[in-house]
């Protein structure tokens, strides 16, 4: 199908992009990789008046080491995220998760920022960002602000970004020594979105789990931390039994939907099983 007609502009700085969004009003939309937007446009499920292509803004691309965190430009593609040496070293969970997104062609175009801004409940990267406690750097008419991952994902396809704000970069805290991680994605075909996904990061010391972070994909309108699993794991022994016991509460507090690919009941079941598997992997059990 063919998108509804729109105007197009390609600013070269973030300031210009924000100006273009203001000028374009309510119906202006940012496009970065376009890998979520294009299907939506082609199916005519959206009809923006103007697309602001942020692809030409140099500042929004690439990964840099910024002390205790990495700064990843929002336009960095999934392909670059999964292959970047800094990301692999300090935020391996993000690289691992990016590798599970869609397929190679889409990973060549789709961007980390676009994925987070899109806030698809079935998106994988928001979950990793939540588990890693990333911070989003956004710029709008009032300047820049930082938004913690836990506040960023608001609802189905809704982030904390205002319509005239641009997501510029993502601050990813470095995972220090002793952390293990895993993203367990469960889907019906390789190319499909996650039915449920679990991102786990576990810190181990002498056979004990000292800290655990577990975040879930597609278990509600936004990615969600499995906090009761996390607290059950803190201080627990890094054993299969302890992990299995903690994982039984993985679905607590979640609000998964029933759709074509799974019922809510099955998603809850999967959340428990996959949490057990993801944490075990992360803990090296």
């Amino acid at each position: 199908m063919i998108p509804v007609a729109f105007d197009y502009t390609k600013p070269s700085t973030v300031d210009e992009a924000v100006q273009a969004l203001i000028a374009g009003g309510e119906d202006a939309k940012v496009i970065s990789g376009g890998q979520s937007l294009m299907p939506v446009l082609r199916l005519r499920m959206a009809a923006p008046s103007v697309l602001v292509d942020v692809g030409g803004i140099a500042e929004m691309n690439g990964v840099s080491d910024d002390g205790d965190h990495l700064l990843i430009g929002s336009n960095t593609t999934h392909h670059d995220v999964m292959n970047n040496a800094l990301v692999k070293q300090h935020a391996g969970l993000l690289a691992m998760t990016a590798a599970t997104v869609a397929d190679p062609q889409i990973r060549h175009r789709g961007t980390l920022g676009g994925s987070l801004a899109h806030a698809d409940p079935a998106g994988d990267l928001p979950t990793a960002a939540l588990a890693l406690e990333c911070v989003m750097v956004a710029q709008g008419p009032k300047g820049r602000r930082e938004i913690a991952a836990k506040d960023f994902f608001v609802d189905y396809f809704t982030s904390a970004l205002e319509s005239d704000e641009v997501l510029v970069a993502i601050k990813v805290p470095k995972m220090g020594d002793g952390w293990g991680y895993h993203y367990e994605k469960f889907n019906r075909t390789a190319q499909a979105w996650a039915t449920v996904g679990v991102a786990a990061a576990v810190k181990r010391q002498n056979g004990t789990i000292t800290e655990a972070r577990v975040a879930l994909t597609n278990m509600g309108p936004s990615p969600i931390r499995a906090s009761s699993v996390e607290s059950a794991l803190a201080g627990a022994s890094a054993s299969a039994d302890a992990i299995a016991a903690a994982s039984t509460s993985a679905a607590d507090g979640t609000r998964p939907t029933s759709d074509l690919h799974a019922t809510a009941e099955f998603r809850e079941h999967l959340a428990r099983v996959l949490t057990k598997r993801a944490v075990a992997q992360a803990a090296g059990v």
């Binding site: 197009y8 390609k10 889409i106 190319q191």
Partner: protein, 159 residues
């Protein structure tokens, strides 16, 4: 619906054109400049039949706006083997291993395989299968496509 000027290099030739911002790269290729070797199979970015290399990397040309390709270099199935009667090793391998039937998925499969092999010259079967997950084929069951890519890797010295 003002048109926007773009210039794109496709299969080695420079094209200057005015396009509607909404026009898809694949429609630009097919309808504006007559490169009909690249085809369309879906409207949700799933089938991969439209795959081309954009600045050297595989992308789905239905999911890129023509304006986004301004200044870029596009390689399609038609430009893969330079010169008449020439064959790229991946094309050769697809013929040798019967990696195509109706041929509709073929442009996308071949371009994806080219990208895959430039990134990983000696992929395992599993890596090939995963590397082609963005392309659907209804005819071959993929068995011979996988064999074709293995054979191409061998020919290209990867194995």
């Amino acid at each position: 619906m003002t048109h926007v000027p773009i210039s794109v290099t496709v299969d080695g030739a420079l094209y200057e054109a005015e396009v509607e911002p909404r026009s898809l790269l694949v429609h630009f290729l097919r309808e504006d400049i007559g490169r009909v070797g690249t085809v369309v199979g879906c409207d949700t970015s799933n089938c991969g039949t439209c795959t081309v290399l954009l600045n050297g990397r595989s992308v789905k040309s239905c999911s890129v706006l023509a304006v986004q390709a301004n200044g870029a270099n596009v390689l399609t199935i038609q430009g893969l083997a330079e010169g008449d009667g020439n064959w790229h090793p991946v094309q050769q391998a697809f013929k040798e291993c019967h990696g195509l039937q109706c041929g509709y998925c073929t442009p996308g499969m071949v371009m994806s395989a080219v990208d895959l092999l430039q990134e990983n010259p000696s992929p395992s079967e599993e890596e090939i299968r995963e590397g082609l997950e963005g392309c659907l084929c209804r005819c071959t069951g993929y068995h011979n496509i996988v064999k074709s890519v293995q054979f191409a890797a061998e020919m290209m010295g990867g194995k």
